[in-house]
């Protein structure tokens, strides 16, 4: 499964961090900065998989049958709640891609295909691109919530929900319209006026005001 999805820029400033395994916040921060320092050290033209002897990713508390390797060193283990740390011997991998000023980083385990995750990062970026129309770092900075919503359409609880960009985009657009409609109304909006994704592509968008969704009530 996917343990974490991170976006940070080339200066190590986090733009998005989403952890699907419960990790204490301090450890999260430490992990992000650790991964960033390794990735930023890597020269251009090398592969997209990050292996470093020091990299320690806290194992999920119930790793089950997966055997945890030697826990040599526990650099990122701030709170120490999950003391079982695993290194390269475990199949946890850090897979990243570099786009302009941003690094998109996925931390995954052996259930995911390495090359498949690279494709998934591409899907994520393309979905963002459609959601923001020519996405750039500023979009991610100022629409931190929307980035999360887009991610929510692709991954849920560490498992891949959808890989089809069109479908993702439909859902993202629908929820955007719903948000707009809900925020624009003076009165608490009844849920019945919400648009199902893909149902009202032509209807809801553009209007943004009460008129748009009022029209959709009639249909």
């Amino acid at each position: 499964m996917i343990h974490a999805v991170l976006i940070f820029n080339t200066h190590g400033k986090p733009r998005l961090s989403k952890f699907y395994t419960p990790i204490p916040p301090l450890t999260q921060q430490a992990l992000i900065s650790q991964i960033f320092s390794f990735i930023s050290d890597r020269p251009a033209g090398v592969c997209n998989f990050l292996d470093a002897p020091e990299l320690v990713f806290p194992a999920p508390p119930n790793a089950g049958a997966a055997s945890n390797g030697n826990g040599n060193g526990n650099g990122g283990n701030g709170k120490g709640k999950s003391t079982a740390t695993s290194t390269r011997d475990d199949d946890t991998r850090v897979i990243y891609r570099h786009y302009a000023t941003l690094y998109f980083v996925f931390v995954v385990d052996g259930a995911e295909s390495e090359l498949g995750i690279l494709d998934l990062i591409q899907v994520f970026v393309e979905s963002l691109d459609r959601a923001f129309e020519n996405v750039c770092e500023l979009d991610l900075i100022f629409h931190f919530d929307e980035v999360q919503y887009v991610l929510n359409e692709i991954i849920q609880g560490g498992l891949v929900l959808e890989t089809n960009i069109n479908e993702i985009n439909l859902c993202v657009q629908a929820s955007k319209r719903n948000r707009k409609a809900s925020a624009a109304s003076a009165n608490p909006l009844l849920p019945s006026m919400l648009v199902a994704p893909g149902a009202g592509r032509g209807r809801g968008d553009g209007g943004g005001g009460a008129r748009g969704w009022l029209a959709s009530i009639g249909v």
């Binding site: 997209n48 998989f49 292996d51 470093a52 049958a65 390269r88 931190f144 849920q156 479908e167």
Partner: protein, 946 residues
Amino acid sequence: MFERTLQDLIRGLRAHKASSRAQEDAFLNEAMGEIRDELKGKDMALKAEAVLKMCYLMMLYPIAPPAGFAFHVVETMSSARFHIKQLGYLAAPMAFSGDTEEVVLTVNGIKKDLLSPHLPIPPLALSALPHLLSLTPSLAHTFHGDLLLLLTHSSARVRKRAVLCLLPAWEAYPDGLREGFPRLRERLLDDDQSVVGATVGVVMELARRQGGKNYLPLAPELFAILTGSSNNWMLIKVVKLFAILTPLEPRLVRKLLPPLTSLISSTSAISLLYECVRTCIVGGMLDPDRPEGEALARVCVEKLGGYLRDEGGDQNLRYIALLAMVKITPTHPHMVAEYQDEILQSLDDADLSIRMRALELITAMVDRDNLQHIVDQLLAHLAPPEDESPPLPSAMSSLAAVAGQQSVGKASDVTVTAQSISSSPSYRLLLSQRLLDIVGHDTYVNVTDFEWVVSVLIDVAYVSNVDVGSQIRDMLLDIVGRVKSVRPYAVRVLEKVLGDDNLRERARDKTGEDGLLEAAVWICGEYASDIGSPLSAISNVLSHSLPLAGGNVISLSVQSVAKMFGFYAASISSRWSADLHTECKNLVASIRSGLEPFLAFPLIEVQERAFEITQLLAFVNADLTNHVPPKVSKPIESIPGVEGGFEESNDDDSAEPPYPKSLFLFQPLFTSHELNSVAYMAQSAVRIPEGLNLDHDIVPNAGFSADIDLDDSESEEERGEVHLGEGGGAGMDELRRVLREQDRERKGKKSKGKGKKVEGELTAEEKAEKAKRKAARRDKLKNDPYYLFDKNEVDDDVDNIPIVRLDDAEMAAAEAPAPTKIKSKKKKAAPPPEFDRAGEMPEGATPLPKQEARPLSGLAAIDLTAPAAVSREGSGRFEEYTFGDDGLPPREVEVQTASATPPADNEAGTPVIPSPSSADVPANEEAVKVVKVKRKKGSKKKSAVA
């Protein structure tokens, strides 16, 4: 008045980023204060914005949310407005932690949202649910029913999210798996591809957590997806899932080979191609017994090798090629060996990731023939590249800059990074450890020349510059202990090491040399007979810088000096002369002065050893000083026996030896028993002495009940004593005194008799009574999960247990063929040295107890076999799994279980019916049929195991 939105907050943060840290902190504090107020306010929109801002800050900074934040998140979650609700569900995973009590407040709201008739609402709740479930497992039970309901929701978007929620739900509530498994199975046949994809993902995760056994019955559906789907993501998942399943069901291999082969040859997606190759490898499809397996292996290795060979090709492909080759090496080493050069080249790659993978692969590739070559390569990596670079880096770089302003370009860049990687301590540590592991792999199975190993170890200690000292030390000691023939060489080399003052200096900063030094000191002492010049060795060990070393080295050194002196003194006795007399006296004096600093050493062990040796030397010294050579100058031909030499030489009074007798004071202290390596499990092979019965009570009844009885009766009598009354004059007092005395006498007799009787009784009744009690207790404890029951106790007749007896002779015989084979294969190679691989076993060792596969414990084990049972009773129509194309008669899917683990009958509560014809007994369907599949050279044998 004007409330900051998230955008304002971000703008403010960015504005303050340029300024000082204090200003940024001040701004943060201000923002936090605002957020706190807004959270407490009545306005839902403001509250939601504050929640959002808080989430943003929590992502960026390690700050704790204000108290009650979780409660406000609950408020937003239960808002009727879509955008606020969505925000609440977004914030929930961040706001709640495991001990957040507010989670309880959310239950009803989430339930309502899950079952909301409005399509956009359930996905909101579902998206946050996995996190909440993993935080508060108790919720899993609550929502399980709802999730199962949502599995058949009309919208595929809800269905796929519900499917994904099942994984955390079942993790927290394993029993749900039994109920939900058939429903999950139906989702594999869903109309919507993304629902199927999600289901495959969940099955994959479940199979990884539990082992694939429960999911073998899904093979037909998965197979249909494999042949029918065109979605690469899903195909990858299915292919990966089969990699888990095929080792459990060998018949799947034949079924899978055609589609996988066609995918490998046809697909354009490298990711899918790679996963197919990987599944072929991992799934055990490259069985060398089968012709197609060999061919497939060839195809796989060639595909991977192509990635590796592709100069300037995709680095990612090189990485995964190395990754996959590690998997294929155990079965097809010769094919991988063809790419050895490329793999070794990858060790030089600028990319650390690729280096690490190459290192791992090389570790797997090592065999007898290439060991030296590979280790030399690794050593070359460890050795400092050139001596010029460290001292004057600035000059170097400026020269380079002058030489080719622009033309230096990327090439030098890459070499620079490559060097910097080589010098990174953690990489060096990894490299050194791997190197040592390679050499010592499986007790030096690949080593043909131990002198070479010793020199490699010394090299590693010198160049590694990382903390591998203890590993080097242990290996050196192990080798000289096991390999007798290498001892002279090792001592000779290590003697030189001892003379290296630089080494001592560096040994103090834990960079590999410390271990070498310790090993050298010990080995030179232990095998002092091989030392070239004991005098210089002793002075080297007791070097003037020794007091600066660690206590460990010092205590070793003190001991080692004593050993060396013991040997030296014994050896000079045969050629005793006046010169040697003075030499020896000087030596004693120098040792004593060398040990002086340690007489007051803070470490007690060092102090004690130093004192002991010094005292013994004082004795020797006195003997030497008083020694007058006897007039009879007849040389003594033979040295008296080393064992107890001192006493023996004392004995022959007739011919006083020409040398001082105290020369033999030291040696016997250290040579009485040769040190050997101890075999694996030697301790447990120590035979239990005859007549040792640990179950026998040393004190009958644990020393309690009998005494207590006595005490009770005595106290009763004493009480009686007290009741004799008080007062009544002198006559009465006299009477009382007499009575008491009589009583005491009687009691004494009685208690004596009673004590005897009790003992007699105990021995008489003991056996029957105790056996009965023991049996009862055992029965009681058998069902007690908290009592670790010794299973061996039940097996009364230990001799009946079939255990392969591992005799020394047999072991030697088993080992013998390997070396001879190599010898015949490779003529020029030196015959493999004899060494003590097995190690020492205690005398009269009992056969090694067979290592029992420990049954899994915990959740993973509990529900292992259960779903299989459920799947059986739940959906009978899927049970027939036919192999159409290879003419096998349709037969039931066999659930293969490890024979060691108890079958599922405990779970199902019904006994296993050991009849193979249970297929036509529908009444017993819930009883899991456990059929062990035995494979013997292709022919299958089916046998029922109870």
